[in-house]
Amino acid sequence: MGILLRCENVSLGYEGSVVTKDLNFTVSSGDYLCIVGENGSGKSTLIKALLGLKPQLSGNITFCGEVSKNEIGYLPQQTMVQRDFPASVQEIVLSGCMNRCGLRPFYSREEKKLAKDMMKRLEITDLEKRCYRELSGGQQQRVLLARALCSARKMILLDEPITGLDPKAANEMYELIAGLNQKDGITVIMVSHDMNAAVRYATHILHVGGKQLFFGTKEDYMTSKTGQAFLSVMGGDEDE
């Protein structure tokens, strides 16, 4: 169990104002870390910092072992632009291989095969030629997940992956992610509002507020004060 990611005394925020501080946690290979917290507590800022989209105010974020900074698969929240983008599923999944290309202008045969394998893994092979904007929300998320897996097979970072999905699709998505974590050994970091899913699937929980409120295994979290207080408020909240 090698450590892949280490955060030391990280504080995050926008010019002048600190959103969250004193973040200290590590992610090991094979972990399923769920980042929870209320709106505005700095969850998405943390994601951006981990991805290198936004610099941290202070502290260190280090990647070690088999993952380097640009080898995280990322499942972003969907933007409005993407909802009506004219692109086929295959084109989108393949674009996840972009970071393997470097300066090479076109995709190699292996990359195309990788994209095919990932589509097969996520059971969207039959959608290959379909247009992205005609798919259902759940199918779109699978496409984006396949793309994320093309860009990195060791670690994926999911930003609210079930936003806008109906309960059935959301459950399928969770099972899929859990499968990737357990069967394929992919390290998962997920931001979520859904406390029930967090405590059901995750191995570790990071609870952020104005500062780090809790980091540890799920079992510890359930018995901790923070966890119990938060669970009683949030639990069942999004489980319509």
Binding site: L51, G52, L53, E71, Y74, A87, S95
Partner: protein, 288 residues
């Protein structure tokens, strides 16, 4: 019918008409390539903004009396393109406002400078409005192209098309999801810059042809029409290039035969295609 062909045959004997056709088709090809990217990035109006900047730069070039006004127009337009696409993300003045500001500002300044210049030169003011009109809506100068102009246009088009083909996959990735591209280590800033420069080059080439007010139509309409019917990025681009070439070819022929202005005839053809495609997409959706 044969009269028409005879007339066309006669016209195409003239080198100037052939030059116009070559240049027109090349411009149509280049301008349609990046249409989809601009529409999806919500930058449909950048064509407008930049062409007004180019108009302003042209006015400055006229005043200073530089013989080759490309020397001023090209760098100024490229710099504005870079600034506009950069400010799109996070600044105090948002993308659409910035485009509006720069385009109207450049237009006003350019028109004023042209007036001042003509007063000093002692020309009549009606001459200025004719000048301005032809810069805005495209001039008849398409029929007075020299072989050198044609060569410049050919070289520029080859560069634009090559850049587009080489960076096709990267342009797709950056257009579809900039954050993802950046997060996985694609240098999206660089490719945004590249897109901006290519657009500026296309606009400057196209300005002489359809005029600075109508360039946006040349860039946006083929892409929008293609997006009505086609489902993958590649097919949309191929289709918009085909549409653009056909409309430009038809537009030039009609404008020669009927004596209509070249730029607006081509845009009319583009609009017609857009409505046909919208109708087709409506029908296919109903039929399903």
């Amino acid at each position: 019918m044969s009269e028409v062909f005879d007339k066309l045959h006669m016209y195409f004997q003239l080198p100037s008409v052939r030059y116009a056709m070559i240049v027109g088709l090349l411009i149509a090809l280049c301008s349609s390539l990046l249409g989809v990217t601009l529409v999806m990035k919500r930058f449909s109006f950048i064509g407008d903004g930049l062409s007004h900047v180019a108009f302003g730069a042209m006015a400055v070039a006229t005043i200073t009396g530089i013989t080759n006004n490309m020397l001023i127009i090209m760098p100024v337009t490229i710099i504005s393109a870079v600034l506009l696409l950069r400010t799109g993300q996070n600044t105090k003045i948002k993308g659409d406002a910035a485009v509006a500001m720069i385009s109207v500002g450049a237009l006003a300044l350019g028109y004023m400078l042209m007036n001042i210049a003509s007063q000093k030169g002692g020309r009549t003011s009606s001459n200025v409005s004719a000048d301005v009109c032809s810069t805005l809506f495209g001039s008849t100068s398409i029929l007075t192209l020299s072989p050198a102009d044609v060569w410049i246009c050919i070289v520029m088009s080859v560069i634009v098309v090559t850049v587009f083909l080489v960076f096709y996959n990267k342009i797709f990735a950056v257009t579809f999801d900039e954050n993802f591209a950046k997060a996985t280590g694609v240098r999206s800033d660089m490719y945004n810059l590249l897109i901006a420069v290519v657009i500026a080059v296309i606009i400057v080439i196209a300005m002489n042809f359809v005029g600075s007010l109508l360039i946006s139509a040349l860039i946006i309409f083929p892409a929008l029409s293609a997006m009505r019917l086609f489902k993958s990025f590649r097919s949309v681009i191929i289709c918009s290039v085909v549409i653009s070439l056909i409309c430009a070819g038809l537009g030039i022929i009609v404008s020669i035969l009927a004596g209509t202005p070249v730029g607006s005839t081509i845009v009319t053809a583009d609009i017609t295609v857009f409505f046909i495609f919208s109708l087709l997409s409506f029908i296919t959706k109903k039929g399903r």
